[in-house]
């Protein structure tokens, strides 16, 4: 799914990576705890989170994830936007809650990781 389509579905604002909305992501990965993203996130995922701090940028960076969407109307401060831009991340902001965000994207065909089970 193209990020541009995601932006429209979520009525989102773009604060970093405006020129890269043509990029495609294949998976949705939703969590407020970064260890979950670190464990299961894939490079072609969009990271959906309501957590707003620098660790989200670090987590995306470390997991090779290129796109983040902050949910629940969270606004990033300058440091976060700067870090995202420095690392060529695409960052969207939506006022929707996490539930509505996941629901809309899933309904339009964005996939999740499937059954995880306990693999740790």
């Amino acid at each position: 799914m193209k990020l541009l389509e995601i932006k429209e579905l979520l009525e989102a604002e773009v604060v970093s990576g405006e020129d890269n909305l043509d990029m495609e992501v294949n998976l949705g990965c939703a969590a407020d705890l970064m260890s979950d993203i670190l464990a299961y996130g894939k490079p072609d995922s969009i990271l959906l989170t309501g957590l707003m701090n620098l660790q989200v940028i670090n987590t995306a960076n470390i997991s090779d994830i290129k796109a983040i969407c902050f949910v629940r109307g969270k606004k990033p401060d300058e440091n976060i936007i700067k870090a995202a831009r420095n690392n060529n991340l695409i960052v969207l902001l939506t006022n929707l809650p996490m539930f509505e965000t996941c629901g809309r994207l899933y309904k339009k065909g964005l996939k999740g990781l499937g059954y995880l089970g306990l693999d740790m």
Partner: protein
Amino acid sequence: MDNIRKTTKIQELTYELKIKDVMSKNVETVSSKMPVSSLRDILYKKRISGIPIVNDDKLVGIISIEDFITCLEHGEMDALIEDKMTKNIQSLYADELLVHAVIKFEKYGFGRFPVISRKDKKLVGIITKSDIIKGVLKKLETAYLDEEERRYRASHIFNDVVADELFFKFQYFVEGKNFDKAGEAATGLKKTLYRLGLSPEIVRRTAISTYEAEINIVAFTKGGQIIAYLEPHQIKIVITDKGPGIPDIKKAMKPGFSTAPGWVRELGFGAGMGLPNIKKFADKMTLRSKVEKGTHLEIIIKLSDYRKED
């Protein structure tokens, strides 16, 4: 473990490649006003099994070798193509993901689909199952060559140096309780290893393990340090801190077990996944701890010819 989640590299590629990347672009087309007999030469000489029918750049139908043979059997070689072609055509857009083509082939059982451009609906190519296979194989080959190239670069560093024992050492100091700086060591190490030409997968596993360890130092201890040793066949990361230490290591390793205070949980960590995550991404992990003295964690990531089963 989690077999269902695992997708093969080939499945991944069908999500990466687009139809335009693998389709045949030089398409033979015929006008619908021509007689069926005019197909003979094209089908025979070009050894193709189906031809899109195009009038004024617009795709109006498709005719297959089976349709041609039926006409031959019934002595209808003079019939117009437009009366014998399939008009209700299924086509694909050039910018669609390859996986859509795979799904369509399964669904309809056709031998080929014409490919049109999304913008002006003009015919731009044709795709068969063998185009898909060739395209995926070609991509696999280049991915493999890229990987080889990286491996060469990584080993190259060591080839140029002569010593009895050899490693590169990268050292990072980590402050306790300072969440603003958490992640600097892991992202720094990641950048360094990537620049040295290690494979993205190795770099990613190293970075994730280091990051979780770094978060632990920040969240739980008075501070510590991370030393990464890049050796010819492995990366060894040694993480030490100044306490307070872990009273029960077995318990600490249990997924979901956490002693994290509320503030750590609200910052997005502390759900008892850190150490299990490290174990998941490392090839080997050793954890020793003395209450009040501190904790010593050693992580090994092997460099090549080794894929960790996750």
